[in-house]
């Protein structure tokens, strides 16, 4: 199929970017969206133009590196990651607008590549259980109800891709944060640090310049791992608890 691509090009963080239009032909249904961009890049290189920069690594939907705004939808029209989006979701002659995640907390590095270091810093602010290597008790000493373990797992599948932020009209990272709060909060191991964790992470979230959540719900619809909105409820609940406990 033949497509018209409108892609955001920006040489670096300091220079203002703009949309550029490219025509691409011979795109097959089986290509992933990123393979389609690979083909475009080969074309560009042949013409002596700078190829389009975009992030990807695993290309199987698990590392969270990829992520593009495709026709106004984070990761495009399917509930999956950009690397797992295939061109059969598009039709011959389509025009596709490709933009980077937009959030001031995710500054553009180049073209479609953004800096998501803010997520690491949110985790640094409390998204862990403090246990030094070697000091762990025998694994079976603390049984975990199966349902809790399943719930914890379900939200622990967050890949840190940032689509939730990209899709949220407020540029909030609450879904990402809520997923971690819920993952660790569901488990007995996570209880001792529950208050300090939520307080630290939320403070860092705010300091990074993400917006506050007003429960709009675009995030969960864009999330390739279908993290449900109740993690934000849990996040709020935990923060209130911390407030009550005097944090």
């Amino acid at each position: 199929m033949r497509l018209t691509l409108k892609i955001w090009r920006q040489p670096n963080a300091e220079t203002q970017g703009a949309m550029h239009t490219y025509e691409i032909d011979g795109v097959s249904d089986d290509m992933s969206f990123l393979e389609m961009l690979d083909v475009l890049n080969e074309d560009l290189i042949a013409k002596g133009e700078d190829p389009v920069a975009f992030d990807s690594d695993c290309r199987e939907g698990i590392c969270g590196a990829c992520g593009l705004m495709i026709n106004g939808q984070a990761h495009g029209p399917e509930v999956t990651t950009t690397c797992q989006l295939h061109m059969r979701s598009f039709k011959d002659g389509d025009e596709i607008v490709v933009e980077p995640w937009r959030a001031d907390a995710f500054p553009v590095v180049k073209d479609l590549v953004v800096d998501r270091g803010a997520f690491d810093r949110i985790i640094q602010a409390g998204g862990y259980i403090s246990v030094n290597t070697g000091s762990a008790p025998e694994a079976h000493s603390v049984p975990v109800p199966r349902d809790d373990a399943i719930r914890a797992f379900n939200v622990a599948t967050c890949i840190g891709c940032g689509a939730c932020v990209a899709a949220c009209p407020n540029g909030s990272a609450s879904l990402f944060m809520g997923a971690k709060i819920t993952h660790l909060g569901e488990l007995p191991q996570g209880q001792p640090e529950r208050d300090s964790r939520v307080v630290g992470m939320v403070a860092q979230h705010d300091a990074e310049g993400f917006g506050g959540c007003t429960n709009i719900g675009e995030c969960t619809a864009a999330c390739p791992k279908e993290i449900p909105l109740d993690v934000i409820s849990r996040l709020n609940w935990d923060l209130h608890a911390a407030l009550r406990h005097g944090h």
């Binding site: 705004m69 939320v202 007003t214 429960n215 719900g217 449900p228």
Partner: protein, 227 residues
């Protein structure tokens, strides 16, 4: 993170917003119910208005209850509007470079209209208070000292009714998302079922309150409620 204060977070802002919002909801529910007294006729309505002013006497001075209510509402309003403005500003700063194309998939229209809807309600409130409470403006030029007559005069004017109905639309939308949102903010929606219930409650409150309020203006204009 040392020095991180839970109370200074965006979530705390939202918590304040939810609490003040819920206070509003309770107020408008009661207010809406009171308004329906208009269907019982001139005397019953005016008696109710007067009763509001004597409520709590002799424990409270004259109009004491009303003033407590007003103080509460003013605080709630300040908090609610302050928090709304702070969150709005943050959201604006969180994305200064906008998308060329952005689709909304899951969000309701109400949710995306909370802020402008809120502004509409605020404007309405200013007018409303001038109209009925502080200013007592009778657009048809009639007397302003008889609450029932003021009401009927007001809504006999078609454009006043339109303004009120539009405001009720804004209120309905605000409540539709606001109720669900407040439940989520309070951390009460941890299950799919709880979320569904909160959303349903949003619809119910929106329809009951905005609908209930709308009855009086409509029936006045339609000539059912008359002086």
């Amino acid at each position: 993170m040392t020095g991180a204060r839970a109370s200074r977070s965006t979530i705390t802002l939202k918590l304040l917003m939810a609490v003040s919002g819920i206070a509003f909801i309770l107020f408008v529910l009661a207010h809406m119910y009171g308004n329906l007294k208009a269907f019982s006729g001139h005397d019953a309505y005016n008696e109710y208005a007067a009763h509001l002013r004597t409520l709590g006497e002799p424990l409270l001075p004259a109009s004491g209850f009303l003033w407590i209510l007003r103080a509460g509402l003013i605080i709630a309003l300040v908090v609610h509007v302050y928090a709304a403005a702070a969150l709005w500003r943050r959201a604006k700063r969180a994305r200064t470079q906008r998308y060329v194309v952005k689709k909304n998939l899951a969000s309701s229209f109400s949710s995306r209209w909370m802020r402008w809807g809120g502004v509409a309600i605020l404007l309405f409130l200013v007018w409303h208070l001038l109209n009925f409470s502080i200013g007592k403006v009778n657009v048809s030029g009639g007397a302003t000292n008889d609450p029932y007559n003021l009401l009927v005069d007001t809504f006999d004017t078609w454009w006043m009714t339109i303004i009120y109905l539009l405001a009720m639309l804004a209120l309905g939308m605000h409540l539709h998302h606001g109720t669900w949102s407040a439940s989520q903010t309070l951390g009460l929606t941890n299950t799919v079922r709880a979320r569904r219930n909160a959303k349903a409650l949003g619809w119910i409150l929106a329809v009951v309150i905005a609908g209930g309020f709308s009855l009086v203006p409509i029936f006045v204009l339609a000539g059912v409620i008359t002086k």
